[in-house]
Symmetry: C2
Subunit: 206 residues, 2 copies
């Protein structure tokens, strides 16, 4: 791609480093910014720099936060004895949206994935194990994606805390609400039968 302006070229190159954004999309975005008032580009770049420079991570659960302790960990009405283990902030947001969980979280910051060069030492596993061994935890819920990497991570953590006297559970795998049975894959359908729940429980929310 040849550009008539070095400024455009540089902006497009930087923009296309973002995941899922190629050179063409980057050019479309840059031209859009050119048509908008100058302030919009200013606000965007200020917001990005402020976010990158000033962001903090909760010292307890490693969630992204504006202070040393995130709102969830600082909330005393939540049950601090139940910890839900998730991959990143998006999973925290998704579970919070359900309104079904009143415990606290522990954000790993990724999954063990040798292909991507992510080993256990790069994840927030040590602090989790310490927290569990300190005896202040009753239950651990694994809420990672149901992939090879997710399962590996679950198992790695499980092996380190298996001798602690706590409940270790994982979120239920089964047919999505609203899904047709015939389109479900075999493994999911199999698990949904294996882990069937009493019918009365199925229409109660808690």
């Amino acid at each position: 791609m040849e550009f008539s302006s070095k400024l455009i070229e540089k902006a497009v190159n930087e923009m296309s480093q973002l995941p899922g954004i190629g050179k063409r999309t980057a050019l479309r975005l840059v031209l859009h910014l050119l048509k908008q008032p100058k302030e919009q580009t200013g606000f965007l770049s200020q917001a990005l720099v402020a976010m990158r420079e000033d962001i903090k991570y909760c010292t307890s659960c490693h969630n992204i936060s504006d202070s040393m302790m995130c709102e969830i960990c600082a909330n005393k009405s939540r049950n601090h004895q139940i910890i839900c283990i998730v991959e990143d902030i998006r999973d925290v947001m998704a579970i919070e949206n359900t309104g079904q969980f009143r415990g606290i979280y522990h954000v790993l910051g990724g999954k063990i994935s040798p292909i991507d060069g992510v080993g256990p030492s790069q994840l927030n596993i040590t602090t989790l194990v310490e927290k569990v061994k300190s005896g202040s935890v009753n239950e651990i819920i694994f809420a990672l994606s149901s992939t090879m990497e997710g399962d590996t991570t679950n198992f790695y953590i499980y092996k380190q805390i298996a001798d602690c006297e706590i409940i270790i559970s994982t979120i239920a795998r089964g047919i999505s609400v609203g899904d047709e049975l015939e389109y479900a894959d075999e493994v999911t359908l199999g698990r949904s039968i294996l882990h069937r729940v009493p019918f009365e429980k199925s229409f109660k929310n808690n």
Copy 2:
């Protein structure tokens, strides 16, 4: 969407103002930046601000440029008597890539589109008409998209320069190279028959 950090929220909000980027995609991009070195966010925002603040438009053809006159207009080996009328910089880049055009361009900056509130006065039409009426132009080539808006714009400009003694042409509409005939739409196929070219011309490049 509820965020655990105001900084993330602001960055996501600004990012999702870009066309085709929703809140979820914006969050994905922002979290990606968080995982990268701080410099990357710095480079990105600097490039965007520099582009928005310092960009210039060629005083002759209105193409985006780093100087008062773009490289194409400043190039004396090009034929300044043939002007190709395009919508924006992307079209200039596309035509330049073909290597088939040695004239100069005139960038309108959009198409007449009442639905989007774009009238002729917002486009660079006046300077084009002046240029044509000054007598320095031999041929005008319309190279706008073949849409209602493109055709309207072509016709609007045509009416203003129809009494000038110049050649006015439009780029050929027809079956794309490599396309199967059976999948072509009727209008395109019809035009490709109406505007058929001598066979000998069809395999010559110039």
